[in-house]
Symmetry: C2
Subunit: 106 residues, 2 copies
């Protein structure tokens, strides 16, 4: 069991996907630029086998924004894009209706 | 900053909304029954000003499933339905494509 304090340590925000590039050193990864309202961030996500860049750009995604930066195969990732793992596919989370980039999630 | 260990304490799953009832003692709350694949759960969510029951039933929502149960105005809530808070509205999270209830989110 987790507590509400555990949950509140994490900062989740709506991020609008601005750009998607293939990772130079990993064939399952994308390097994604995301609009978080007051700033943009770059993260690495393993969804290349499930989405084309065109399918992603413009979408609202769900990002854990306050994780420690991590190097993934030589590229810095600031934040984690959340996705559901359903049988043999990966499906990103999004918002049910349009909302502003940077909107806080709780 | 949060760590990946902090994030991994939380269990997030896709929950398909089965039933939505008005909370008997709180005019902003719904009591919602959710299909989590291997089981169903009941939770309380403050989205009554933003969604009708008909808009919610059948939707895939995003649930923190391993929070301690909490009594909300006399009704037990097992899990927390995640939503974005955007200016003057609340927008639930969902999946970008269909996926099975109970799918793990990470």
């Amino acid at each position: 069991m987790a507590t509400f304090e555990d949950f509140s340590k994490l900062e989740l925000k709506v991020g609008k996907i601005l750009e998607v590039a293939v990772h130079p050193n990993a064939d399952k990864l994308y390097v994604i630029k995301v609009d978080l309202g007051e700033k943009t961030t770059q993260l690495v996500a393993g969804i290349r086998n499930y989405y084309t860049p065109e399918e992603l750009v413009g979408k609202s995604a769900v990002i854990v924004v306050n994780l420690e930066p991590k190097m993934l195969r030589g590229v810095e990732s600031n934040g984690m894009l959340l996705a559901a793992h359903s049988e043999d596919k990966i499906v990103i989370l999004t918002t049910d209706r349009q909302c502003l980039p940077g909107s806080f999630i709780k």
